[in-house]
C-alpha cells in the first residue's frame, strides 16, 4: 500500500515536472508573440523590463506588428522561427547565445542550433553508454543489471532480437552496431526537441537525409557483398526478359533511391508536423487574444499532442531502424520467390 502511494506521488511529481516548464514557456511566448500587449498594458511592459533587456526577437516582432497587423502571419513567423534552423540558441527569459557563422570555400559550415543539438545528443549518448558499459564490466555473469544499464539493456535487446535478427536473419551482428547507433541517436534527437530550450535536430531535412544516406550506402554494400557485382547488376533487371530491360532498369534504379528518400521525408515530416501542431494550438489563443481559449483549448490540446509526440519520438526512431534493417535484410537476402514478393511489396 505504501509502495502504491509512493508511485502515485511520483506520478504526480512527474506530471507537475512536465507541465510547469510548458507553462513557463507559454509565459515567455506571450511576450515573444504578443508585443502589442507591452504598449497597451504598462504592467506587462514592466514585467518585460524586469526580465532584462528586450529580446531581439520580440523587438523584430514588434516592428512587424507596427508594419502590418496580421495576427496569422506573425504567428506563422514565430512558428517558423521555432521550427527552422538558425544561428541563435534562445533561452527565452534569460537571453540568448549567438553562434558563429563560418563559411569555408563558399560552403556554409556555420555551427547552427541543430548542430549544437546533434553534439549534445552525441555527448549524452557517449556518457550514457560509458556509464552503462562500465557497469557491465564490473558485473559478474550471474548478476542482473540495475538502473540505467537495465533500462538500456531492454532497448538494446529489443533492437537486437526484434529488429535486427528478425529482419536481417543470419549475419545480423555486423549491422547491429549501425542499427543501435541510429536508433538511440534518432530517439534522443526526437526527445531533446520536447524539452524546454531544446530543438529537434531530426526536424531538419539535412539531418534526416544524412541518416538515410548512411542506410542507403549500407544497403548497397550489403547487396554487393551478398550477390557480388554480377548479381547486383542482375537484380537491377528484376529477373525479366532482356526485351523488358529498357523499362525495368530505370524503374529498379529509381527504386533504389525512393527508399532512402521515403526514410528522409517520413522522419523529417513527422517531427516537424508535431511541433507545428503544438505551436499552432498555442498560437490560437494569441491570435484570438483570449485566455478562455487558452485554458479550454490550447493548454489541454497541446499537452495531449505533446504526449502523442512523446510516443511518436519512440515510434519514428523504431521505424527508421526497422526499415533500415528491413532494407538491409532484403538486399542481402538470397534470391527466392517469396523474398521477391516481399521486395515488391516494399517498392511503394
Amino acid at each position: 500500500m505504501k509502495r502504491v502511494k509512493a508511485i502515485k506521488a511520483m506520478a504526480i511529481f512527474r506530471v507537475t515536472a512536465l507541465i510547469v516548464p510548458i507553462l513557463f514557456s507559454f509565459n515567455s511566448l506571450v511576450f515573444a508573440a504578443n508585443p502589442e500587449m507591452q504598449e497597451v498594458q504598462p504592467a506587462a511592459a514592466s514585467v518585460e523590463a524586469v526580465h532584462g533587456e528586450a529580446h531581439p526577437v520580440a523587438a523584430t516582432e514588434a516592428e512587424t506588428a507596427h508594419g502590418d497587423a496580421h495576427g496569422e502571419e506573425k504567428a506563422g513567423d514565430v512558428i517558423m522561427h521555432h521550427i527552422l534552423d538558425n544561428n541563435v540558441i534562445a533561452f527565452e527569459p534569460f537571453g540568448e547565445i549567438e553562434l558563429p557563422k563560418i563559411v569555408i570555400g563558399g560552403f556554409d559550415l556555420s555551427i547552427t542550433k541543430h548542430v549544437v543539438m546533434l553534439w549534445t545528443v552525441s555527448a549524452i549518448l557517449i556518457a550514457l553508454f560509458a556509464v552503462a558499459g562500465g557497469k557491465y564490466r564490473k558485473m559478474t555473469a550471474r548478476e542482473a543489471p540495475k538502473g540505467i544499464a537495465n533500462a538500456l539493456e531492454a532497448l538494446v535487446q529489443f533492437i537486437r532480437l526484434d529488429v535486427a535478427k528478425a529482419n536481417i536473419g543470419k549475419g545480423y551482428e555486423k549491422y547491429l552496431d549501425y542499427l543501435l547507433t541510429v536508433f538511440f541517436f534518432i530517439l534522443l534527437c526526437n526527445l531533446l526537441g520536447l524539452v524546454p530550450y531544446g530543438a529537434t535536430a531530426t526536424g531538419n531535412i539535412n539531418v534526416t537525409l544524412t541518416l538515410a544516406t548512411f542506410t542507403f550506402f549500407l544497403t548497397q554494400a550489403a547487396a554487393l557483398k551478398a550477390h557480388g557485382i554480377k548479381g547486383y547488376l542482375a537484380h537491377l533487371t528484376g529477373g525479366t526478359h532482356p526485351a523488358l530491360w529498357i523499362i525495368m532498369i530505370p524503374i529498379e534504379f529509381i527504386g533504389l533511391f525512393t527508399k532512402p528518400v521515403a526514410l528522409t521525408i517520413r522522419l523529417f515530416a513527422n517531427m516537424t508536423a508535431g511541433h507545428i501542431v503544438i505551436l499552432s494550438l498555442i498560437f490560437i489563443s494569441f491570435i484570438l487574444k483570449s485566455y478562455i481559449v487558452a485554458v479550454v483549448m490550447s493548454v489541454p490540446f497541446s499537452i495531449f499532442i505533446y504526449l502523442l509526440e512523446l510516443f511518436v519520438a519512440f515510434l519514428q526512431a523504431f521505424i527508421f531502424t526497422m526499415l533500415s534493417a528491413l532494407f538491409i535484410g532484403l538486399a542481402s537476402a538470397h534470391e527466392g520467390h517469396d523474398e521477391h514478393e516481399a521486395g515488391a511489396a516494399t517498392h511503394h
Binding site: 517558423m80 528478425a166 521525408i265 515530416a269 508536423a273 523504431f318 526497422m322 526499415l323 516494399t346 511503394h348
Partner: protein
Amino acid sequence: MEGLGFLGAGIGAGLAVIGAGLGIGNVAASAAEGVARQPEATADIRTTMIIAAALIEGVALFGEVICVLLALK
C-alpha cells in the same frame, strides 16, 4: 487570386489525410481481426502492421509536405 493557393493547400492536406486515414484504418482493422483469430501471432502481426502503417503514413506525409510548401510560398 493569392488566396486560391492557400485553398489548394488546405484541400490537398485534407485529401491526403482522408487517404491515409482510410489506409491506416484498413490496416488496423485487419490487424485486430488477425490478432483476435490468432493471438499467438500478435508480435508478427504488430510488426507487419507498423511497417504498413508507416509506409502509408509516409505517402500521406509527402502530400502534406507539398501542401506546406504550397502554403508557405
